[in-house]
Amino acid sequence: MFINGKKYEFNEQKLSELIDYMKINSKNVVVELNGEIVEKKNFDNLVVNYQDKLEIVTFVGGG
């Protein structure tokens, strides 16, 4: 799958597991799956697979 434009060889898994695996705090992210925003309540039941294109945008404080 592609994450932020980079190719990864991850197996099919839940989006929440993938985010945990990448050590990202899921609270402050915006996720786009194949061009559609994914709501946080769906992180646990949405499965991503090898052909998906994900954008995971991480927000940290300061502005």
Binding site: N28, V30, I37, E39, E55, F59, V60, G62, G63
Partner: protein, 192 residues
């Protein structure tokens, strides 16, 4: 057509008038962008002066008032609308209904997420320019502009949190990169 006559017809919304927003608003005013919509609910504090475009005699004023006063010293004719309120999913659409571009210039990550999700999901005609990772005095060169999708740009290093300290130079770099991204988009150049 000159750049100023093109920009004079455009409207930009700025969500937050702190370190990023006060400097972005100043740059866009110098570029004579015809209409700015500036939103903030905070007041100017003395500790803000290390990075925000305010002056000592503006401490304790509402940021939207102080910001407009600064901009009026630069340009008397552009339209400047200010909103002294907290942006929420209930009011974002109404406040920014007329803008071509929304610039996210919030401080708190949860507010950044809220605005970004809302605009990408519910305002498909708007361009969004956000920021993440602007703190400290880390290298200039870790800061990038990323085009996340057709209409969402993100400036910053995505890492440096406010806890590192918020300092003028790096905040200004990001503010200027967001402002220049806005100018490019308004001029029809969509690439980063």
């Amino acid at each position: 057509m000159s750049i100023y006559s093109i920009l004079g017809e455009k409207t930009v919304g700025i969500a937050g008038a702190g370190g990023l927003g006060s400097n972005i608003a100043t740059l866009l005013t110098r570029m004579k962008v015809g209409h700015l919509v500036i939103v903030d609910y905070d007041i100017v504090e003395a500790v803000n002066l290390n990075r925000q475009n305010y002056a000592l005699d503006q401490v304790n004023q509402k940021k939207v008032k102080a910001c407009k006063d600064v901009l009026r010293q630069i340009n008397k004719t552009i339209q400047i609308d200010t909103h002294d309120l907290k942006l929420t999913p209930q009011n974002i659409k109404e406040v920014f209904k007329d803008v071509d571009i929304i610039i996210e210039a919030f401080d708190l990550p949860e507010e950044k997420v809220m605005l970004t999700e809302f605009v990408l999901k519910h305002m498909p005609e708007k361009i969004l320019i956000g920021a993440s990772g602007i703190a400290g005095y880390e290298s200039n060169n870790t800061i990038t502009t990323r085009r996340v999708n057709d209409r969402f740009y993100l400036v910053g290093d995505s890492k440096s949190k406010a806890e590192l300290g918020m300092y003028g130079p790096r905040v200004n770099i990001v503010a200027a990169m967001q402002a220049n991204t806005a100018i490019r988009v308004l001029m029809g150049e969509m690439n980063v």
